[in-house]
């Protein structure tokens, strides 16, 4: 029990934060929102995977990746390839010159399915690919860079370049990837209509459950010895290295893990939105993910989820109400958060939250009886 409370939830603060978040996304939002808005929230929550992965990587590891969109996109494309193959059965594609292959291949004079599409005929292989390929890709990049002690701003630039390269590759090879249109018109998963309201509810809850699981696993990583080492590496890398640790291995691990987490988000995105396009791989989405983490508080696994929700709600509401002005409003929101709450929403809560919690008798009692132990949610100044 103590293991669960301390290690998986992160003590009192983490535990209550987790319970409140879980109640919000599993009970309150589905109760009060209709399926259209709930589906939107589901879409936002897929970005939260990437934001959570940035807490591990950037907040704790001090490694700023401006290429999380790459992994989000790889996960999304993996799922989209599977769904597209299912939608391209010979019966559905009779009008093509070559029935049975995705429509965009037919438009590009490709007459048989490329070999790397073959595994995506099977759902288990697809899921394995979604989890393993992005992590493997991150492992290769990470090994190439961290073993050579490339870090800091150089790492950020290189990840950004990788995002650009991958976008150009996808757009350029449109016969194999669908090009700039992306992979569209996805309708069924093993014969089950994914566009029905029913399916949307199921995906929403699956998504929420996966997100909470990822948060628990991430919390476990951070509360373990590995988490402390990660913080130590961020604050004084040389000192850790001189103490006899191989710093690069830790960084490679956390980079690969964050890639896997982002990829899960990407796959869930494809399922809920119904298509995937290169606009999720490039620089803009990658930087947006960093903004979600910054606004939510890059040291807080829970805070970034709120950050992601807030920014995306803002984006949707502003752009619905002020279609000509909304970008300025978004810009204003970012600037004010960075200027006035450098530690994000989580920092705001830590600084002022006790004014609110002190008014709740139950919380007060709890505070008296329990001495707060190692709280991981530190909000000290992190250096990038």
């Amino acid at each position: 029990m103590n293991f669960v409370y301390e290690k998986l939830m992160g003590g009192k603060q983490g535990f209550f934060g987790f319970i409140i978040l879980a109640t919000l996304i599993i009970v309150i939002l589905p109760l009060f929102l209709d399926i259209f808005r709930l589906n939107l929230v589901g879409k936002y929550l897929t970005y939260a995977f990437a934001a959570v992965s940035l807490v591990l990587l950037w907040g704790y590891g001090g490694i700023l990746s401006l290429g999380q969109g790459v992994f989000f996109g790889l996960g999304g494309y993996g799922m989209a390839m599977f769904l597209k193959l299912e939608a391209s059965s010979p019966e559905n594609t009779q009008i093509q010159s070559t029935p049975g292959i995705p429509d965009f291949m037919d438009w590009n004079q490709i007459i048989s399915l490329p070999w790397f599409w073959e595994p995506f005929n099977s759902l288990p292989l697809t899921i394995a690919a979604i989890l393993i390929l992005p992590a493997l890709f991150a492992f290769i990049i990470g090994t190439a860079m961290f073993k050579r002690r490339v870090g800091g701003v150089y790492f950020a630039i290189i990840t950004q370049v990788i995002a650009v390269i991958l976008t150009i590759l996808i757009v350029g090879q449109q016969g194999f990837t669908g090009g700039i249109n992306g992979i569209t018109d996805l309708r069924t998963l093993n014969g089950w209509d994914i566009t029905s309201d029913n399916a949307k509810y199921i995906f929403y809850f699956l998504n929420a459950f996966l997100l909470l699981t990822v948060i628990v696993i991430s919390r476990f990583i951070l509360t373990s010895k590995f988490g402390s080492l990660l913080l130590a590496i961020r604050d004084k890398e040389d000192r850790v290295r001189f103490s006899g640790y191989d710093v690069s291995n830790f960084k490679i691990f956390i980079f690969s893990f964050s890639a896997m987490v982002s990829a899960i988000g990407g796959a869930m995105f494809t399922l809920q939105v119904g298509f995937m396009s290169p606009s999720f791989v490039g620089i803009v989405p990658s930087i947006e993910m960093v903004i979600f983490a910054a606004v939510g508080g890059r040291m807080s696994l829970i805070g970034v989820v709120y950050g992601t929700l807030l920014i995306n709600f803002g984006k949707t509401t502003f752009s619905e109400s002020f279609p000509e002005l909304w970008l300025f409003l978004m810009g204003g929101l970012f600037i004010s958060v960075v200027m006035f709450f450098p530690n994000g929403l989580a920092g705001l809560w830590n600084d002022y939250g006790h004014h609110i919690t002190n008014k709740i008798p139950f919380w007060k009692k709890l505070k008296k009886t329990e001495v707060s132990q190692a709280v991981v949610e530190k909000t000290d100044e992190a250096t990038v």
């Binding site: 449109q174 018109d185 298509f275 606009s279 000509e324 909304w326």
Partner: protein, 420 residues
């Protein structure tokens, strides 16, 4: 006293906020409860669209921000002009059209999200919008799922025919075949060099062009090249063109790349004096960016040019300039977008209903026609595309084109046999 303390404390702000948030879900029900059903409305609206006794709501979905904004602005301006003119005439079935505008932000998923919002939340009777093929592909499943109605204005690659879309631009064969016939006949062209931006529309268009050149015209394609969207380096292509000396350069370079492409051609000394160039991607809107002097003497194939000399067009250009400023230019897509609301009006009046299924059925009868279209006479084919003419325009220094060739009315054929 306690009350007043609450009013000034931090809590009051929070309460205010919480109250405000609690009211949010209520706004969702507003649109549904706003229209009380009177008999006539019930009759013409059996599917719960946003129609009252004196208004009908439609959506406009174009990019107001991002890279596509510059192209899509003209389209949404034309749609608003048409809607205003229809309202001035008394609306449709006695109902004034109200507009809900959404920003697609040049981002395909945003297009999908906003179209779902327009159909599910706002229950709009029709949507005028989308521009790029990618945005159309993104919204298509949404319109089919929610049984909405989309009027899509851009000339495009064909290979598509959805129950829920009316295509007011020309599909590929309507634009390509006649233009190629013309250039083969007039300029005695035998060799062609194909160049385009690298995405679905140029590639499909070139595929059709190549088949036509090789199989029908008996000509030869001496080069085919694609450059990434946004590319600004055309030096290597221009060198190859110099080497191959094609009779015709056939171009489908889009967006900002156009500026670099034509300026570099001119800098390399390839001008209309020595070289015939035919493009399917340059309208008056693009010329604004490219500069008329860089294009002078080159040819575009479109169905509409701002300089068309007919009464419909003169009235349209005058009305457009009055509404959107005298410097505005009108390109092919802008005109096609202008047709959308008028075609919708004709179909609604024919069907006597705003129900999507009935409008589609009326449209598929194949006899909806517009005699007042700026491009001349248009008729809606039962395959959801328009009968239209192809025109070849020769660009002048001032950014306007002189029409040098006009085809007969062409039947739309989105799935051309022999060109796949």
């Amino acid at each position: 006293m306690k009350y007043s303390r609450y009013r000034t404390g931090p809590n009051s702000l929070r309460r205010f906020f919480v109250k405000g948030l609690m009211a949010l879900p209520a706004t969702i029900f507003l649109s549904a409860s706003c229209f009380a059903a009177s008999p006539s409305t019930a009759e013409i609206n059996t599917t719960g669209l946003a129609i009252t006794d004196d208004t009908v709501t439609v959506g406009i979905l174009h990019s107001l921000t991002g890279t596509m904004a510059i192209s899509e602005t003209g389209a949404q301006e034309a749609e608003k002009l048409a809607i205003k003119q229809i309202n001035d005439m008394g609306g449709i079935l006695g109902r004034k059209i109200e507009i809900i505008q959404e920003d697609g932000a040049s981002d395909w998923p945003t297009f999908a999200e906003k179209s779902r919002k327009l159909l599910v939340k706002d229950k709009v009777a029709a949507v005028f919008g989308a521009w790029t093929s990618a945005s159309r592909k993104a919204v298509l499943p949404v319109f089919e799922k929610e049984n909405g109605l989309l009027y899509y204005p851009t000339f495009y690659e064909g290979l598509e025919q959805s129950k829920n879309v009316i295509y007011t631009g020309q599909e590929a064969t309507q634009q390509i075949l006649d233009g190629l016939n013309w250039v083969a006949k007039e300029k005695k062209a035998k060799t062609f060099y194909l160049i385009g931006s690298d995405y679905i529309w140029p590639r499909t268009s070139m595929k059709i062009a190549r088949k036509h050149i090789e199989n029908v015209l008996g000509g030869r394609v001496v080069g085919e090249e694609y450059k990434p969207l946004g590319n600004t380096q055309f030096g290597s292509v221009i060198n190859k063109i110099r080497l191959k000396k094609p009779d015709v350069i056939y171009a489908a370079v889009v967006g900002g790349s156009n500026v670099a492409w034509f300026k570099q051609l001119k800098a390399a000394g390839i001008t209309s004096k020595k070289q015939t160039l035919l493009t399917i991607s340059v309208t008056e809107d693009e010329v604004l960016g490219i500069g008329g002097e860089n294009l002078e003497g080159f040819y575009s194939i479109m169905k509409y040019f701002q300089s068309l000399e007919n009464e419909n067009n003169k009235a349209f250009v005058a009305a457009f300039k009055e509404m959107w400023g005298k410097d505005s230019v009108i390109g092919d897509v802008t005109q096609a977008a202008y047709l959308g609301p008028w075609l919708w009006k004709a179909a609604v009046e024919k069907a006597g209903s705003f129900d999507v299924d009935k409008i589609v059925a009326a449209s598929e009868a194949g006899d909806i026609e517009l005699k007042t279209a700026p491009e001349g006479y248009v008729k809606l084919h039962k395959n959801h595309h328009l009968w239209s003419v192809a025109r070849v325009g020769k660009w002048n220094k001032d950014g306007q084109a002189t029409v040098v060739y006009e085809s007969k009315l062409l039947e739309p054929d989105p799935f051309p046999a022999g060109y796949q």
